[in-house]
Assembly symmetry: C2
Homo-oligomer: 565 residues x 2
């Protein structure tokens, strides 16, 4: 008879863009025994939009609260079908969220959006990561930091983003002064959720994660935490006030934020008092769930991508221009967390499918239909190249004020050709990030992909392998963000002495690896040259490049490939 | 009782890209009393394609012969319902065709394609105007003429085109030597049809139109007709042979090619012996049918456009870089004919509709559905700009090795926005032609549009008026090419002493004029600046322009326009 080991479990709760996922895992091996995805209900798939302003994307905080209850309750119910599982055996909870997704709160930490007075005010909701309304403020913050010779931008690629905390808060001050005045503070969603779970949302005392603070709010211990009061006041006196209305010290996610509050525990059927880890962003915890370690690039490919790496704190690391952030402890405690990303990937494919798929593809699963024809094409055969900037460019240009481009279309260009060109464009964007990391001494020895596209789309993954000319591995878990959160739950629950130790037991990659094909890689190297020429000419000021050869070369490659066929 | 005037009629036969149209008109006032369109039956809507080579477009000469019989017979039948019409009252026939559409013929002038041996050989068919297989040969001819200091290119914009006679013939020599060897000569469709109608297709003695020779075969009386034997031999010895296997002198279309042969006359029910005018291209005769005169730009807007002007022979006229051709007598006898054009206009809209219209638009009339939503948009609102180069650029770049471009798409961009951007792109292309004409001293005092799009599409015409910031008139006749051909039929039939006199009685414009709207024109002036920046950067070698502002400005214009709404 086999030795009976007492099973223990952790829960990861992953707040995505359209839904929240709860995952119950076995802390011994990462085995996933129950999960549930609760869709947000407000607005358009959980996103509050403004028809007059395509840059705006907000969320209702009520969706966060209700989403927790619904997803965890149902995940526990699913886990209940696993032999031996009992809610009492859950030892810890971890939480990851999108970000920067700040929400204005009152003195007690209650979201303003939950007050009747502000219930329907878009400015009082959570400002979703992909809200780009604050592009002017982002440019202003960048400009001020440069002019004043402040070091703040060195760790975030040299450019502050419209997606980030201070830009959004400042934009609110400028455009919705009533909401700004009513807000005592602005809390990141990644901090709000653990606060709400542990019954402490007071902005002064709730735990503050290093991930959101370091990547989005210019927090760095080397300059004493947040930017100085003087700097913030130079942007707007109102910002300086906010500096001290949030926990002073930011901490990594292997620390407990507190213990599960009795009322919350009761509503989902868990024992009260379970440790809850400090929150972090989905991509960062996803990287942990995908087994990130030095030399391993984890790509989380969904509507957008996050590209994560870690590097030991005790080795020198250059500031990397265009990288979203380099923050000690933001991914793994004791290591630099490096964050890069693409502002839209799956979102671009979805855009094409929802807006431009002709009837012969739109029937049934349009992605599958387009993929069927697109994967029959050879690299270069369409004569097309696209830029993957429909939602701006996060890395390496850090510029939301960019847009898409498609070049090379003829009177014969098909929808499947364009679909493939869009996939290739995102692969070129991925390669641009890898090249930038390596240019600055961060060797990419392995790429592990996760997220819906990595999981379900061999067509896209093969193109990534060919374009990047590297093997593409896929994380064993299909729910790496939630798994990463659960790993931190396991750590704060005491199952492991370190996050790395937990990772070694709880993560892995699938046996199938997408390997680059030589001929495809060679053609893509040529096409990447054209992508890069367009990228640099349209995305960087005063670029001297000559674009005249672009169409010529596209047509020449196309003709050559078709002759070879 | 009103005075009874003996009615007289002329027939215009217009060979288009997909069909042939016959039109019976009253020579007194241009009244159109009967017409019929006979579709070509070979290939894809009359075009023989090669799935391996999107540049290839050929036609079966049998379609030309059968198309004449069918269209004229049925047009005469329709005319027969008009009181007083009798076939015996037809006094002349004019013919226009696409071009350069050369076909290889044997010693007797019979198309090789009609011989069983070559029936299925694509190289032995007619090489349709939009066949771009000969782009390498076009570049070679341009290069040779420049290197040898030959004057030939001065009258065709400085660049020889892959669409033109010698490029196509040379490409055949290089790629289908058997067809080339079997061909005694190569005859333009515009000369083949009058030859066939008059029973004289012998390449030595059949009438040769100045229009095709001057615009496409480098014919100019100032250098003794065709290019020298030496020059042609320097391209390929085989070409020199061809120089003298075609009528030596080319003549305008107010001259008779001969008289209707009895067998042809019998098959359509006309009296034999009716004068048949020398042939010319559709655009040139279309310009005549639209009332062209000095200062009037006639735009024939269909799948592509032709932009025609005339200028008095007795006034100085500069060589205009990028203009397809400046040929004395090619439009109106005694005047320079100036030909410019856009390689694709309606073809671009059709491409979008057939390839990329999503189901909600594709049901029913997709053009109408897209137009409905596209015309609700304001200029600049989409943030998009496109280049109208899906089929290359005829004027002002004279370069088939260019392709389409769309810039500015976001995750919210709609099909209707793209459709409008494509329409605007063709309008920007139209404006580029107008600007080039005026830069070289050819004042455009009036624009008369004709062709299917001018006739049926107020949405497109209003955008043209706004973009060009000029009133857009529309030709009274909806069949200007066939009407122009009929005018030449009337002239050779003796009804008028000159083409101009015939025009004054037989042509006119519609009462509705599209007038530019001030605000729209102002926004379009901004957008044109961006179009032009892309046009110059991607279409001209070594252009120093900086494209970084393009996306920035597109987004800024978009945001401003949406705020104004």
């Amino acid at each position: 008879m086999a030795k009976t080991v007492e099973k223990r479990y952790a829960i990861g709760v992953d707040y995505g863009t359209n839904s929240v996922r709860a995952l119950v895992v076995d802390v011994a091996d990462g085995g996933e025994i129950g999960s549930f995805v609760a869709d947000y209900t407000a607005g358009d798939h959980g996103i509050l939009l403004d028809p007059k302003d395509p840059n705006l994307a907000r969320q209702s905080p009520a969706d966060y609260v209700n989403g927790f209850y619904q997803s965890v309750r149902r995940a526990l119910k699913a886990a209940g079908r696993s032999p031996g599982f009992q809610p009492a055996k859950v030892i810890g909870i971890g939480v990851d969220t999108t970000g920067s997704t700040p929400l204005p709160v009152d003195r007690h930490g209650q979201p303003l959006a939950m007050q009747p007075r502000f219930q329907h005010d878009l400015a009082a909701q959570a400002w979703l990561w992909k809200d780009h309304t604050a592009h002017a403020e982002a440019a202003e913050i960048t400009e001020q930091a440069r002019r004043q010779g402040m070091p703040y931008l060195a760790k975030c690629g040299g450019t502050y983003s419209s997606e980030w905390y201070w830009s959004k808060v400042l934009h609110c001050k400028r455009t919705s002064p009533k909401v700004f005045a009513a807000a005592y503070g602005w809390v990141e969603l990644a901090d709000f959720v653990p606060g709400f779970l542990t019954g402490n949302i007071d902005p002064h005392t709730a735990a503050r994660g290093i991930c959101a603070a370091g990547h989005k709010a210019l927090y760095n211990d080397s300059w004493g935490g947040l930017p100085s009061r003087e700097f913030l006041a130079s942007l707007d006196p109102g910002l300086a006030e906010l500096r001290d209305r949030y926990a002073r010290q930011a901490v990594p996610a292997d620390r407990p934020a507190g213990r599960l509050a009795a009322d919350v525990a009761g509503r989902v059927g868990l024992p009260a008092g379970i440790p809850v880890a400090v929150g972090a962003f989905d991509a960062h915890m996803g990287a942990v769930g995908a087994g990130i370690k030095p030399g391993t690039l984890v790509k989380i490919i969904g509507t957008s991508t996050c590209d994560m790496m870690v590097a030991p704190l005790d080795q020198p690391l250059a500031d990397i221009p265009g990288l979203c952030g380099i923050v000690p402890g933001s991914v793994l405690p004791g290591m630099y967390g490096l964050e890069a990303g693409q502002s839209a990937v799956g979102d671009i494919f979805n855009w094409f499918v929802s807006r431009l798929a002709p009837p012969e593809y739109a029937r049934g699963d349009a992605h599958a239909n387009l993929t069927r024809d697109a994967q029959r094409l050879r690299p270069g055969e369409s004569g097309l190249v696209a830029l993957d900037w429909n939602n701006g460019n996060r890395t390496i240009l850090v510029d939301p004020r960019l847009a898409g481009l498609l070049i090379g279309q003829t009177l014969h260009t098909t929808a499947a050709e364009i679909y493939r060109a869009l996939v290739e464009a995102t692969a070129f964007g991925a390669l641009t990030i890898i090249q930038r990391l390596e240019e600055y001494g961060v060797a990419v020895k392995e790429v592990v992909n996760c997220g819906g596209i990595a999981e379900k789309n061999p067509f896209v993954m093969q193109i990534y392998a060919d374009v990047c000319n590297r093997p593409m591995k896929v994380s064993r878990s299909a729910q790496t963000c939630a798994l990463g959160a659960a790993i931190f739950g396991a750590v704060v629950g005491g199952a492991y002495a370190s996050t790395e130790k937990a990772q070694r037991r709880m993560t892995g990659v699938k046996p199938t690896v997408y390997r680059p094909r030589k001929a495809a890689a060679a053609t893509y190297a040529e096409l990447y040259g054209l992508y890069r020429a367009l990228h640099d000419a349209l995305g960087t000021p005063n670029h001297p490049g000559n674009l005249y050869p672009v169409m010529k070369n596209l047509l020449a490659i196309r003709d050559r490939v078709r002759q070879e066929k």
